[in-house]
Symmetry: C2
């Protein structure tokens, strides 16, 4: 975790997010800790149990819907600027988790944001979109119980953005997002449309909606919750709930993976050999010598390899606990050995995933109506 030059926590979906201390988010931004709700959640996900999902807004509303078998929705998405990586994998798994626990699932291909924020022309993002949707399907998303769409083609979302325009002053936009060009503000309004789409008449009207996202996306939630309140009279919107996951560390040990540095992350489309190489080159929390590591133990809290096990690649919680305490802190395993074990798990997963993904490409094209 890191701080900006002034040591202040900064959440910016369009830029770099600095998180000095996740605990501080509770006070500074009014995000609630997730842990106290854990006992009330039937069948919590691995990310919930392990504290990867650490915060929420109004998640009690979702708990209630789950318990009472009431209608609710899950909504999240991906910015189609490249292949699935470990961050988008996290969000996709969360959406699928809620879908499997009774939610109507909405998955948005945020191609307007890809254009406004990253200058990716729609023709190009469309290609990524097909792959991204195939990934989502390969991971278990059920399109029959869900709605997958591209922002650029979804008139209802654009129309909500137009509606919401009246509800946001320039000052609010600048306070939430900083000084940007108009396109970014417009894409923020469209995101608000995405988040409230599940509550429109066409989708059955107002309902609790959970938006599982990385903590850097919270500004969109704050904006949308404000808009849901402002337009409550006409649309009866229920303020959307959210869960926040931590951001998985970059393979170079810095707080967030970056597209600019391909060695800082891997995608699910890379070859097992390239992934093995990246894992092998990764930063760790290890000691300078094997002797020291066996004697003093290593530091999992700064280690991207530990994060990979924690976020994605150990199925059983007890294996994570054992790695953290005995193997890593207890000096029972050396980093090279640990990387080799991880490489085996990751490449097995990736090979199988790539096979399933190929099987889903045609289905993805069909869903997105792309030839």
């Amino acid at each position: 975790m890191s701080t900006d030059p002034h040591g202040k926590t900064k959440l910016d979906p369009f830029g770099t997010t600095f998180i000095a201390d996740y605990e501080k988010l509770y006070e500074e931004f009014g995000i609630q800790p997730f842990k106290p709700l854990l006992p009330q959640m039937p069948e919590p996900s691995a990310a919930m149990r392990r504290g990867v999902i650490f915060g929420h807004r109004d998640f009690e509303r979702i708990l209630q819907a789950v318990k009472n078998h009431e209608e609710y929705a899950v909504m999240s998405g991906i910015k189609p600027t490249g292949e699935f990586h470990l961050g988008t994998l996290q969000t996709a798994r969360e959406v699928i988790y809620f879908q499997q626990h009774g939610a109507k699932a909405f998955y948005c291909i945020a191609d307007v944001e890809a254009y406004e924020d990253n200058r990716i022309p729609f023709e190009r993002s469309q290609k990524y979109a097909v792959g991204n949707v195939a990934d989502l399907l390969a991971l278990g998303f059920d399109p029959k119980k869900g709605f997958i769409y591209q922002q650029s083609k979804e008139t209802r979302v654009k129309d909500l953005a137009i509606l919401f325009g009246r509800g946001v002053t320039l000052a609010t936009m600048k306070a939430i997002y900083g000084e940007h060009h108009m396109g970014l503000y417009l894409s923020a309004l469209i995101q608000a449309g995405d988040i409230l789409l599940p509550q429109t008449k066409e989708f059955g009207g107002p309902k609790p909606t959970v938006v599982p996202v990385g903590i850097d996306q919270d500004p969109h939630l704050r904006l949308t919750r404000d808009l849901a309140f402002k337009f409550r009279r006409k649309y009866k919107f229920i303020s959307p709930s959210s869960t926040y996951h931590k951001l998985i560390k970059s393979l170079d040990g810095s707080p967030k993976m970056s597209k600019r540095d391909p060695m800082s992350y891997f995608t699910l489309e890379e070859s097992p050999e390239v992934i093995a190489k990246k894992i092998s080159n990764s930063f760790t929390g290890g000691r300078p010598t094997a002797e020291e590591q066996r004697r003093l133990g290593a530091n999992p809290d700064v280690c991207p390899i530990y994060d990979l096990y924690l976020f994605h690649f150990f199925e059983r919680d007890q294996d994570v606990a054992k790695l953290y305490n005995e193997e890593c802190k207890g000096g029972k395993i050396l980093c090279g050995e640990n990387k080799q074990r991880l490489t085996k798990i990751v490449t097995d997963f990736v090979k199988e995933h790539q096979r399933k993904r190929r099987q889903n490409i045609d289905k993805a094209r069909e869903i997105l109506q792309i030839d």
Copy 2:
């Protein structure tokens, strides 16, 4: 004509426009005088001949298209916040004039602007839209050679707005429009989409386009011309041309009619009796007594009654000249008499117009696809 408290000319499509001196617009805003082009225009309209259209941007491009019988477009529209009045009548006549002189005509029902700027819900503006389109048809617009649409339903215009978002900084928006809520900026981007719609592939690609508007709309033109330049590589946009008409004076003598004061203007839907009453109560440039008026003459330059003849209700230029010089300045006519003559012309026109309008209501519904 009037100035703001600081004596500065201010053009604001979303607020009050103060025009200290039309001449100043040439220097301050880079608007060109129309008069020097008049001899080159075959069959100039009354508004052109009489200086009601006083300025332009790049109108030479349109002159050339007209002369060479090349494809060009005319684009303008109405904010559906009420019935046709003397300002929207002026714009409609200009659009029809260019249509009759070879232009592909585009007429936009700016319902997004009506919502963002005037809080008019779409359900309500739709009702006005039907009437407005019936007015346009009654005035002679040929729907077979034109395209009439509502912003809120025209995806291509919204998509252009999304595209243009990237091309406008917040600073530019504030410099052009001042500090507003997001919706107004969004509606400005949509207006840019309206103005460039005639040049999209679906409508035959790049072509000279003239936008005849009241001078208060110039900010939209400046924004759009800037965007046409920024996105020229991909879309080959030709910078849109414009003509500017003066704003007809309010019946109370102030520089602009205002919806807030129903006695300051009349609509084409009011009864002839109400219109007669409003004309009879109008401010004039007359003298306190008949004797003084006959001796010293009156002042047509400040007179809304003179404006009505000039803009709309004298067909022949020589009648306008005679009114201005001999009758008014020369003291040959008293204001009461002049008002009675005008009332006769206006009520004859309005009765006939209302009859034609009724005949076009069904056609208007069909064009707008409103039941």
